[in-house]
């Protein structure tokens, strides 16, 4: 069995490497921001500076919250996709006579090893992240009393925990499914299996929904003792929950969004049609690819809106970067990792297209267009959440939503959107060239 697993991992080496990279970066950012926060806190307490303690908790807590949220979300979905895309191999194990329980425990061991490796790799990166974070905080006006990062044993624990936890969150469902899917179905289905809500997801979604309602009721409806500022804060928190909720329900939000807008665009070009069909068919892959970009963009949008609403608030790119910088790093690495995980069915499809007489340019373009579709879906999603945020936060702050809209730093947002467009396309450049050069007979023989 071990030999089977090792052969499997070796066969899919590139895929596992990308997954490890994604998990390691996620763990480094989470653990790094935690380490930075506690180091700053320790320094402040040591110096007996009470206002610094509150500042460290406020800023550090925010950063830790967003970074951990993003990296758990991104890493979990990537790991889930990695396992899901191997369901044929897992079905083969079942056919070869490996008991179902065994398959599941093997997958869980794989996940643990993956998380441990990622965590250990993440440790030096996490220290680097923490050091950079402290410099950023100092630059943004916090007096850290010369706090600096020195390795402590608990840092390793934090890194490993940050590595293992998201791997399990993402892999649990896939491992369970792998051991439960009837062999023949897993064998036959090239397309992604249809997603089910699952208990964990339902509970979490319900909590988030409760959060949205619980925040928006006072934020938009009640007169609060804290005045407008408190109402605005409630409205903001409600939006935060909303974004998380929508992304958690990605298969039911991002997929319809993608289907909808690609259906509206006229499709004369063959390459474009092929790309649209490919994105729709491989829905799980598409959602996983869109998710990181959508997450990062909508968070930024939310921050810009709240910065615009709070009198004297912060909406500069620099401030957003301090809080959301690591979210960006995790999201971009995650998005690129998913894009790099090209499935076997894609090779075969490219080969068949080539057999049917698709010119190399058509195959390359259709691959690139897939990146474009992912990016535009992410941008549309964040635009929608931005509009909702504008409207609700304007209600909370009792200003006109239109004023709010016109006050946003649109140029910066446009720049970010352009970056989002460019990233997947650039990442798909090499796969596109490779796809257009697929050796047909090899691809059809494998």
């Amino acid at each position: 069995m071990i030999r089977l697993v090792m052969a499997d991992v070796r066969h899919q080496a590139a895929m596992w490497l990308w997954t490890v990279l994604c998990a390691a970066v996620g763990a480094a950012c989470s653990a790094g921001s935690v380490i930075a926060m506690f180091t700053a806190l320790g320094a402040a307490q040591h110096a007996g500076d009470a206002s610094m303690v509150t500042a460290a908790i406020a800023l550090g807590g925010n950063i830790v919250f967003f970074t951990v949220l993003a990296s758990v979300g991104v890493v979990a979905s990537t790991v889930g996709l990695t396992l899901t895309s191997q369901r044929r191999e897992h079905a083969l194990w079942l056919v070869l006579g490996v008991p179902r329980r065994r398959v599941r425990s093997v997958l869980n061991i794989e996940l643990t090893v993956l998380g441990l490796v990622a965590g250990v790799l993440a440790l030096p990166l996490a220290l680097l992240v923490a050091a950079v974070a402290l410099v950023q905080w100092t630059n943004s006006g916090l007096d850290l009393h010369g706090a600096s990062i020195a390795f402590q044993p608990w840092h390793l624990g934090a890194a490993v925990a940050a590595g293992v936890f998201p791997c399990f969150v993402g892999g649990w469902g896939a491992a369970r499914r792998a051991s439960k899917t009837p062999e023949m179905r897993a064998f036959r289905e090239n397309a992604d299996p249809s997603v089910r809500t699952g208990v964990g997801r339902s509970v979490l979604a319900f909590c988030l929904l409760a959060g949205v309602v619980g925040m928006w009721l006072p934020g938009l409806g009640l007169e609060l003792s804290g005045g407008l500022e408190q109402r605005t804060a409630f409205a903001f928190a409600g939006n935060l929950f909303l974004v998380c909720l929508l992304l958690l329900m990605g298969p039911w939000v991002l997929t319809p969004l993608m289907t909808l807008w690609t259906a509206v665009v006229p499709a004369k070009d063959v390459a474009w049609r092929l790309a649209v069909h490919s994105c729709r068919t491989r829905a799980a892959r598409s959602v996983t690819t869109v998710l990181p970009f959508a997450l990062a963009l909508s968070m930024v949008g939310l921050f810009m809106v709240i910065g615009n609403a709070m009198p004297g608030g912060t909406a500069g790119v620099g401030d957003v970067l301090v809080v959301l910088g690591w979210v960006f790093v995790v999201s971009w690495v995650g998005g690129l990792a998913v894009i790099a995980l090209v499935g076997r069915e894609r090779h075969r499809d490219s080969a068949l297209l080539s057999v049917a007489g698709a010119r190399p340019g058509v195959i390359a373009r259709s691959t690139l267009y897939e990146g474009l579709i992912y990016a535009i879906t992410a941008i549309l999603f964040s635009l929608i959440t931005l509009l909702i945020a504008c409207w609700t936060i304007a209600l909370g702050a009792r200003v006109s939503p239109l004023n709010m809209l016109s006050g946003l730093p649109w140029l910066t947002l446009a720049g970010l959107a352009a970056m989002t467009l460019a990233t997947p396309c650039a990442a798909l450049l090499w796969p596109a060239i490779a796809a257009s050069r697929t050796n047909v007979s090899n691809a059809l023989r494998s």
Binding site: A191, T281, D349, L352, A356, A358, R359, S441, L444
Partner: protein
Amino acid sequence: MPIESNSADLCIRVRGLHMAFPVPRRGKESAQILHDIDLDILQGRLTAIVGPSGSGKSTLLFCAAGLEEPTGGTIEVLGVELGSLNTRQRATFRSEHIGFVFQDYNLVSSLSVEENIALPARLAGHKVPKKRIREAMERLGIEKLARRRPDRLSGGERQRVAIARVVANQPRIVFADEPTGALDLQSGHVVLDWLQALPAQGTTVVMVTHDPLAAARADQVVVMGSGHIHQVMAGGDSHAIADAILAAQAVADTAEVSA
């Protein structure tokens, strides 16, 4: 060796074809798969290629379709020398003139049945007449499956979609590599009946098969053994074909022993 013919109705003309694959991890060493093949295939006929496993039938087919570049020799298809075309031109040539039916994995997994059938014409940049696609699906009894994706079809249904694609697009040449290899008797007969009917419309069909009964339906049978053409014979008699395959196998075995 080739059957008497004037060059006017020649569809595929192979001369001195060599094919070698590099042996992995052995540097410059290479394995010779096809040795000096000469072959003429007539237009509007059904030609079967038979022979033992590993004798190079699929490789020959891929070379003739311009999917694999031979290491030596020339291949002329419909009067066009494939070696003189670049990758892009070969792709265009395929989309205009050539159809394929493989044993499995015939269909692009992200496209529905209907779109798979329309694909070659789309790639060639033609307007696809909806009616022709519908007709082809009706004739093969798969009109109910039009919107399904290939992974929700049985092997026989997928094969019928591949045939419908050929019927709808009417390519000049159809290459079929073990088209009935994975099918039950009944579905296999449906596929073979269609492949046999195509030459009546002027389509040239080249079919690789392991089944002497299927090969017997062909006008011309090419028997291959270990990278050589062992014999070219007329179709009709499945026993004679089976004997020829066994003979080719025996020759290949003795060649291997003496080598």
